[in-house]
């Protein structure tokens, strides 16, 4: 464990730990398993995602963090042979029960990916409002307002407001990722899934995204996958630690308020991981 971590944890221990799950819950996962062609990738994950908080999924490579995240907006529907079992509730509705169409679900649960992926043929403006257009919004005044509002929310407005007609490739990596965040926010999702959103970015761009995450939780519930434990400690309120089991399926080891998980984990394997003994 490096010195920063030690200092940070000592600081954390001094604070009173509040479990964010005592407040409103945005999503509930009950015995969620994901299998590809009959082979388990994630097994029996059960925890609540507190509303307007940041929940981090951490764990070494192969522990099923991303696989679990992608089951939350039914992105596995595209993969032949993928099967999600168990119950995932958004509010009171099971997202796999057929009550919510996948397209509607994905406009309620947005996603930001590992690598910034703005649409290369669209202008910055068209990128931001693309989700609204997919959902049938055509009125220019609505699109304009949404574009400005979500670009401001993504802390990008001031940097690009004069060149909204330019293309995404003219932005830096960090700006592109904030553009993708703005694009996801424009649809007004209830939950925002972030799959290692800073793994392709430099430290300064990473810091900006992390600051943004802390601001955004006021308006949207965030679930973030990160391989960076310090990032999880910095930005999240609740942390779920996953680990690959003996049959190579990811299992949930411990879910706890971030302060607690990083200072007094209940499971010795969690302690081993946060102390850098494996992964």
């Amino acid at each position: 464990m490096n010195e920063n971590m030690v200092n940070m944890m000592n600081a954390l221990e001094d604070q009173a730990i509040v479990d964010p799950r005592s407040g409103p819950i945005a999503m509930r996962l009950n015995n969620v398993s994901v299998a590809f062609n009959g082979r388990m990738a994630v097994r029996d994950v059960t925890f609540d995602v507190p509303a307007n908080n940041v929940t981090a999924l951490i764990g070494p490579s192969g522990s099923g963090k991303t696989t679990l995240l992608r089951s939350l907006n039914r992105l596995h529907d595209l993969t032949k042979g993928a099967k999600v079992t168990g119950e995932i509730l958004l509010g009171d509705e099971d997202i796999y029960s057929g009550g919510i169409a996948p397209t509607v679900l994905r406009s309620r649960i947005g996603m930001v990916f590992q690598r910034p992926n703005p649409f290369p043929t669209m202008s910055l403006y068209d990128n931001v409002v693309s989700g609204l257009r997919f959902n049938g919004v055509k009125k220019k005044s609505i699109l304009d307002a949404a574009a400005e509002e979500s670009l401001r929310a993504a802390a990008l407005w001031d940097e690009i407001k004069d060149r909204l007609k330019a293309h995404g490739s003219t932005l830096s990596g960090g700006q592109q990722q904030r553009l993708c965040i703005a694009r996801a926010l424009a649809v007004e999702p209830e939950v925002l899934l972030m799959d290692e959103p800073t793994s392709a970015l430099d430290p300064i761009a990473t810091q900006k995204i992390e600051e943004l995450i802390s601001q955004l939780k006021a308006r949207v519930t965030i679930v973030i996958v990160t391989h960076n434990m310090q990032q999880a400690a910095r930005v999240s309120d609740l942390t779920a630690f996953l680990l690959m089991g003996e049959d190579r399926a990811g299992e949930q080891i411990e879910v706890a308020p971030t302060l607690k998980l990083f200072s007094q984990p209940d499971d010795p394997r969690t302690m081993d991981y946060i102390q850098g003994r494996f992964g």
Partner: protein, 327 residues
């Protein structure tokens, strides 16, 4: 220092194996001769076509592009008339029909191969498509003549003519062979080429963009129409131009099914001719430098059009590659 020592060693080693001056000379001379042969043949080829067609361009002028009569004057005492309108319009019409059909069906097929065909079957389908692209065009022509033409004569033609305004717009088929049939045979002929290229172009669209689109609540159709096709559009345009280049110069397949008469109406169900088909069928009957020159002139027009098209499509495909590299 070590590097320097090594490199001098290598140089010394190479010294021992360096070919003799005469061997080097032979090597360079062989390459030079082969390359010059190619250059000479190209210049000879283009030069001949221009040389042979100059007199026709001079005597016919614009009539070569707009005229409707193809009457050699030799032996009649009248001046020759070489009007290429029917051939030029026939070429454009059959190519356009072929392109519309090939682009619609071909893009759909390429999308299906990329997004709906199971992974295990993809290689198989792709191989079959590429094999079909290698079938000689005369095979497509014979098939069109023996299988499609009778069907056109008895079923498709009468049906199309019976549609409201069918006869006025499409005309009436007499023998099945027609500009429309030629266009369809061309479409079938270029489809494998078009699918083979567009399958790769569409496959090069990053999967992250598909996921980005779906994660915003887009349907699969919206994702294809607004994300995949726009991203691949320049490459698809390139595939179209390359296919068009093939269709526009096709000779045998077209002359077997187009009907072969110099018409004036250009209705799709009626017979017509194309430049390439006309050159091939008239060559045997052409007597005198005058008539041969006229065919060369048509060939020159076709060559310029094809060349322009090919350069255009190359540029587009190269642009798409650069754009893809930026993404």
């Amino acid at each position: 220092m070590v590097v320097a020592a090594n490199s001098s060693q290598t140089a010394a080693g190479a010294e021992g194996r360096r070919p003799s001056a005469s061997a080097r000379g032979a090597y360079e001379w062989t390459l030079l001769v082969v390359a010059s042969l190619f250059g000479i043949v190209s210049v000879w080829f283009v030069g001949t076509i221009i040389w042979q067609s100059v007199s026709t361009f001079q005597s016919q002028g614009l009539y070569l592009l707009t005229g409707v009569n193809w009457v050699p004057g030799a032996g009649t005492g009248q001046p020759s008339q070489y009007g290429g309108r029917a051939m030029i319009i026939g070429t454009i019409e059959t190519s356009l029909i072929a392109m519309v059909i090939a682009v619609v069906i071909g893009t759909g097929t390429a999308l299906a191969i990329n997004f709906f065909v199971p992974q295990k079957m993809k290689t198989f389908v792709a191989t079959v498509v590429e094999l079909l692209a290698a079938v000689p065009s005369v095979v497509y022509g014979v098939w069109g003549m023996l299988v499609l033409a009778p069907w056109f004569l008895n079923t498709i033609g009468p049906f199309l003519s019976s549609l409201p305004g069918g006869t006025a717009v499409l005309g009436t088929t007499v023998a099945g062979k027609s500009l429309l049939l030629a266009g369809i045979v061309l479409a079938i002929m270029v489809l494998p080429t078009y699918v083979a290229i567009s399958r790769e172009v569409i496959g090069a669209v990053p999967h992250e963009l598909v996921e980005a689109s779906l994660s915003l609540g887009a349907t699969r159709w919206q994702t294809l129409w607004r994300t995949v096709i726009p991203t691949a559009r320049i490459g698809l345009f390139g595939a179209t131009s390359l296919s068009l280049g093939r269709a526009i110069g096709e000779t045998v397949a077209v002359s077997l099914v187009c009907g072969g008469s110099v018409g004036t109406t250009f209705k799709p169900l009626e017979p017509g001719v194309t430049i390439a088909g006309w050159i091939a069928t008239q060559w045997g009957e052409a007597v005198g430098s005058d008539q041969i020159g006229a065919l060369f002139a048509l060939g020159a027009i076709l060559m310029v059009v094809s060349l322009a098209m090919s350069m255009f499509s190359r540029r587009l495909v190269a642009q798409q590659r650069r754009a893809a590299a930026v993404v």
